[in-house]
């Protein structure tokens, strides 16, 4: 009962925020709407016993990524409103909406079919890497255990991803210099990463 209400409210916030992102003419408004959605999702994480994730969601997404967005918007001064009345690409918008709705449609059909055939949408094997509902352990501990056992390799290689992000940002943010000669490391514009 409570969960229904929570779900309903969160869903409204999430969807509303999502529409906000898409429909706001000013990118700053879009970013703020995104925050709303992210918060709504965090709430639903909590509702599904993913407390730690909810916290990370708020901190990393709302706290870092959206801030980064806003930072770039300000940096580039692109906070001008976008004219959403016109669509320069003929047919793009109706096609996008039809295509999107169709995509949603097939996704729903898939769920309905699965539900019809199997009485559940989650047909998978249960608790392959660890029981979520095991009361003996904290959620964080469970996550930590799985992260360092079953997903150890994945965890390790995320570091490569981050290195790439750093190098990539460095490369891209560097000013295009003259025809020849390399740019000194000290002169590089760097973008701070909030990790």
């Amino acid at each position: 009962m409570i969960e229904v209400i929570v779900f309903a409210i969160s869903a409204i916030i999430i969807v509303g925020g999502a529409f906000g992102v898409v429909l706001a003419t000013n990118p700053v408004h879009s970013a703020l709407a995104l925050v709303a959605t992210l918060f709504g999702i965090a709430v639903l994480f909590v509702a599904q016993h993913a407390d730690f994730l909810a916290a990370v969601q708020v901190i990393v997404y709302a706290g870092a990524i959206v801030v980064l967005f806003l930072f770039v918007i300000m940096l580039l001064g692109v906070d001008r409103s976008e004219d959403l009345e016109t669509e320069p690409l003929v047919g793009q918008r109706p096609a996008a909406i039809i295509g999107g709705v169709a995509l949603l449609g097939v996704a729903l059909v898939a769920m309905i079919l699965t539900h019809r055939d199997f009485d559940t949408v989650a047909t998978g094997a249960r608790s392959t890497v660890g029981k979520l509902s095991d009361p003996a352990e904290e959620n964080v501990v469970k996550l930590g255990r799985v992260l360092f056992t079953d997903y150890l390799f994945a965890f390790e290689i995320t570091s490569v991803l981050l290195v790439i992000a750093v190098v990539g940002a460095v490369v891209l943010a560097r000013r295009a210099t003259g025809e020849a000669g390399s740019v000194d490391v000290s002169e590089r514009d760097t973008v701070e990463l909030s990790e």
């Binding site: 990370v56 608790s127 997903y151």
Partner: protein
């Protein structure tokens, strides 16, 4: 049927996730500001996160929640690089929209 009879099953979350994913996808298709387009991608990734967590609970499996971490990291890395590309782009062509960068075609 009362509200009390209703149970929030994973299907609800899945449907919500699908809706969110769709909105994100449509957003990317209709918006011209590259930054907003990136936000739409974030919406899609969050929709997937929601789906993972929902499955995680339905399957009683920790794995689904752990995956969300990785998605977060990927999202962060993507945003960094994506914004880097936009910054580089906007420097030479301030105020460019996604439709403006279309010199190569055919």
């Amino acid at each position: 049927m009362t509200l009390a009879d209703l149970h929030v099953t994973e299907t609800w979350y899945l449907v919500l996730g699908a809706v969110l994913f769709t909105i994100g996808a449509i957003g990317l298709l209709v918006r011209r500001n590259p930054l907003v387009m990136f936000m739409c991608i974030e919406l899609m990734l969050n929709a997937v996160n929601l789906t993972f967590v929902a499955f995680s609970r339905a399957l009683d499996d920790v794995g689904g929640q752990v995956i969300v971490f990785f998605v977060l990291v990927v999202a962060a890395a993507e945003v960094v690089v994506g914004l880097g590309i936009i910054v580089a782009l906007m420097r030479t062509r301030p105020g460019a929209t996604a439709d403006d960068i279309s010199t190569m075609k055919g």
